[in-house]
């Protein structure tokens, strides 16, 4: 029996619904409800409807929830609204999971297939007739942002590279995520070079997918399997050392979503999550303790818009990238102030949700164009693809700036693996 059928793992989230005082703050902040009547809103779909579901979900408007988690974040009473919705959606889609959702949630598979034929794959993804066919047959919107396949994977770069320094700080585990391995290779490479530059011995254990896309599409059994395997793989690295990641959402999957949404409480997962850090969070932590070499940071005169992704905000760490980037002389960071970019993992790719996603992201796209139409900063991969696709701006991970400030390259120029 699937764990989702029992609903037992969801007892805590369900109990939180009684904390709802109907203040409706969640509805004032929900980015989806703002742009479409197709979603009835977090208060109604969440704590109110959940009371009557008894493990069944008949309210199909809940599939229009993007799972951005804004409602949970802004709730002053601690109601796990987004988590309730994610579980209810999994129950609703249980017996009729669309083929499209099965495909787009398997990032590792996509990367494995695309990398060996990267130029062809990229050309096909840019070829309009092919995209129209894909929209009609699979249901991926013809204009949706797609990753760019790379000729080299991060892992093959890592095996070949030689660290620039002799380690002085001990070992650290780098968790690259699927996108870091196959698509956003540049970000992963730069992260490793920064960590090595400041004296860490970077260890990259073999690692599969965290299962986040599967989870957000409601494919819980496969997602649980993925995240359990990953937790074991990360634990196979050196014991007790920090696990640092540039994949902010994937790190969130390990740190809380697998437990809070899918009820995975394995010791291995909890242990791995207890030492997982977003790379900006980790570096800012060093800076706060006076352990990050600040004098070496070279001046970069630029003003950029920074967008904090929903999945990062949901981890309760604030926005460490803002403070980290401001440690670089000359860098002026303007926070987007926007709620969500509208991609929400795979939500904004789907043909029936593409327009909703674009409308959700519009305030962000406008802000990016206003602040610096050439260059923006965001911590997660799919959000960067969405912002790039919608604004034409280059969008980089915050680590690209730290990398440049340490004299290791240019933030706007790829380091390795580009096609």
């Amino acid at each position: 029996m699937l764990e989702v059928d029992s609903y037992e793992h969801n007892v805590l989230a369900r109990a939180s619904l009684d904390h709802c005082v109907k203040c409706t703050i969640c509805e004032t902040q929900c980015p989806v409800m703002r742009v479409t009547p197709l979603f009835s809103g977090p208060k109604y779909v969440g704590p109110q409807a959940e009371r009557y579901r008894h493990g069944e979900s008949v309210d199909h408007s809940l599939d229009y929830c993007s799972s951005c988690g804004t409602c949970t974040l802004v709730c002053p009473q601690g109601v796990k609204i987004a988590e309730l919705n994610s579980v209810a959606r999994a129950a609703m889609k249980r017996d009729h999971m669309p083929l499209r959702d099965q495909i787009i949630s398997r990032t590792t598979l996509l990367g494995t297939v695309m990398t060996p034929v990267a130029p062809i794959a990229n050309a096909v993804l840019k070829f309009k007739p092919a995209r129209i066919v894909a929209e009609k047959t699979v249901g991926i919107h013809r204009d949706a942002a797609m990753p760019t396949a790379q000729l080299t994977t991060f892992t093959s770069w890592f095996k070949r590279h030689t660290p620039s320094t002799t380690p002085t700080r001990g070992k650290i585990i780098f968790f690259h995520g699927c996108a870091g391995k196959y698509f956003e290779v540049d970000t992963a490479v730069k992260a490793v070079e920064v960590l090595e530059h400041i004296g860490y011995e970077v260890v990259v254990p073999k690692q599969g997918c965290c299962g986040m896309p599967l989870q957000s599409n409601g494919i819980f059994d496969a997602a649980r399997k993925s995240v359990r395997t990953l937790a074991g793989q990360l634990q196979a690295g050196p014991a007790g050392v920090p696990i640092v990641s540039t994949a902010a959402s994937c790190a969130g999957m390990i740190r809380h979503e697998a437990r809070e949404i899918m009820g995975v409480t394995d010791d291995a997962l909890i242990e791995a999550g207890s030492r997982t850090y977003d790379i900006s969070e980790f570096l800012l932590g060093l800076a706060d303790k006076g352990e990050l070499p600040l004098d070496d940071l070279k001046r970069i005169d630029t003003e950029v818009c920074y967008h904090a992704p929903c999945q990062l905000k949901g981890q309760g760490m604030g926005t460490p990238a803002v403070q980290l980037l401001q440690l670089i002389p000359g860098v002026s960071v303007v926070e987007s102030g926007a709620t969500c970019c509208g991609i929400a993992g795979t939500y904004g790719l789907k043909k029936e949700k593409f327009d909703v996603g674009q409308a959700v992201g519009k305030p962000l796209f406008d802000k990016v164009k206003e602040v610096n139409p050439e260059l923006a900063v965001c911590d997660t991969e799919t959000c960067r693809w969405q912002i790039r696709n919608a604004t034409g701006a280059q969008v980089v991970h915050p680590i690209a700036f730290i990398h440049e400030a340490y004299g290791l390259g240019k933030a706007t120029e790829p380091k390795a693996g580009s096609v």
């Binding site: 005082v21 203040c23 409706t24 703050i25 509805e27 004032t28 902040q29 703002r34 009547p37 949970t72 974040l73 802004v74 709730c75 002053p76 009473q77 601690g78 969130g252 390990i254 740190r255 809380h256 999550g273 207890s274 030492r275 997982t276 706060d288 905000k313 949901g314 981890q315 309760g316 760490m317 604030g318 926005t319 403070q323 401001q326 926070e335 102030g337």
Partner: protein, 416 residues
């Protein structure tokens, strides 16, 4: 420069955090969710009833404090409240106007007359004035506001300062989207922000329906990002226009909340939102760090100073268990007033002792123990957690929030 952690994102927390950041401290604001401001009317009450209608809040302070020696104003005093009000008015001139020395009378959505001191420019024409006539216009698709109820009560109620007004109810059809029969005030506000033609539609519909009244009152939905829409409307309609705050979550409160959040971000405060404080470390009578609940692992946030602005019962900072025990969630601070004979009485309008339960402080806002000494030398309590006030009955919430925040800021002083 001190490392200051401010806990809570309501009026007092946001004001304290921003002021301390302006004074060059390193400020981290930690809050569980969006604060209470957008549940408010978006006005600044100082003292409205004591218990009779108060015309001049500060002139009434001495007598009020004498009659209520345990009230937060008795410890805060006049000056910090005035400083806080002046600071806010200077910071948000587009959102806060009025004379702090004089209360005005503003209509509520049920047509009651509410005293307040500072208000938004969009409400200014709604300051009820003897002999004036008001067209109260509702929208058929905005169910939170009944113009008939509002207008009838305004007409039948004598003004607290003497005389009366006449109000007439009107309704218009104003669909935000075709066929949409039930829209929130926020949805109207965003439509008015984003769509100039929607402003024209509203103005035209109002102009067509109203009679010869002097002034036009509309539900408070006249723009969230643009608080000047009332000016366009007044011009188009040819009469002064004002808005009446509705049920929470209210658009005027959201405006102030968002303005303060933007200012905080711009000033470079660190914002950690969505997190409870789950513990703390103290040493030698001072708090040295607080524990922030994060995904996967908690985080110790070192603190030279903590400003505690968590709200009261409404936010869960104070809790009453089934055995009747009242406690404070984060620091287990000593509470006063918990032993009152009747914490809650059946008469709604009667003095409810429960609301006066809270934390007692010295004049620098440090939380005090039963012995009258500060519990921690560096823990300042501000806002609705303070004991001795029934804010909703006195109309004193924002004055206490700002005054206590500024008393604490004054004690903390400037950074380098």
């Amino acid at each position: 420069m001190a490392r200051i952690v401010v806990i809570g994102a309501g009026f007092s927390g946001l004001a304290a955090a921003l002021r301390l950041r302006q004074l060059n401290h390193e400020v981290t604001l930690v809050a569980k969710g969006v604060g209470g401001l957008q549940l408010s009317q978006g006005t600044v009450d100082i003292l409205g009833y004591a218990p009779e209608w108060v015309q001049a809040p500060f002139k009434s302070f001495a007598a009020f404090i004498e009659a209520n020696p345990d009230h937060p104003y008795a410890t805060i005093g006049t000056q910090p409240v005035k400083r806080g009000l002046t600071w806010l008015s200077d910071l948000l001139p587009g959102l806060v106007v009025g004379d702090m020395e004089k209360n005005v009378c503003l209509p509520t959505p049920v047509g009651a007359m509410r005293p307040t001191a500072l208000y938004q420019p969009s409400m200014a024409s709604g300051v009820l004035t003897k002999g004036k006539s008001y067209a109260i216009v509702g929208f058929n698709q905005l169910k939170d506001f009944s113009p008939e109820f509002c207008a009838a009560n305004l007409t039948r109620t004598p003004l607290p300062t003497g005389g009366s007004v006449t109000a007439t109810a009107y309704r218009i059809d104003l669909e935000v989207a075709p066929g949409e029969a039930d829209s929130s005030a926020l949805r109207y506000a965003r439509a008015l922000d984003d769509r100039p033609e929607f402003r024209t539609r509203l103005a035209d519909a109002v102009k067509t329906v109203i009679g010869p009244e002097d002034i036009v009152g509309l539900p408070a939905c006249l723009g969230l990002d643009d608080p000047t829409i009332h000016i366009d409307l007044a011009q188009a309609i040819g009469r002064p226009v004002f808005e009446i705050p509705l049920l929470p979550p209210g658009v005027p409160g959201m405006r102030i909340n968002e303005a303060l959040m933007r200012a905080l971000r711009k000033a470079g405060a660190r914002l950690v939102l969505g997190s409870f404080i789950t513990g703390f470390e103290a040493s030698a009578g001072s708090i040295v760090s607080v524990t922030v609940q994060q995904a996967g692992h908690d985080r110790e946030l070192p603190a030279d100073i903590v400003v505690y602005a968590p709200g009261g019962f409404e936010s869960g900072a104070l809790t009453l268990d089934s055995a009747g025990k009242i406690s404070e969630r984060t620091f287990d601070l000593p509470l006063t007033g918990t032993n009152a004979a009747d914490l809650v009485t059946g008469d709604y309008w009667h003095d409810q002792a429960l609301f006066k339960v809270g934390v007692r402080t010295d004049s620098t806002m440090r939380a005090l123990g039963p012995d009258g000494a500060p519990v921690y030398g560096n823990l300042y309590a501000v806002g609705s957690i303070l004991s001795g006030a029934t804010r909703w009955a006195e109309k004193s919430g924002e004055g206490i929030a700002l005054g206590s925040a500024f008393a604490a800021v004054n004690a903390i002083g400037g950074g380098k």
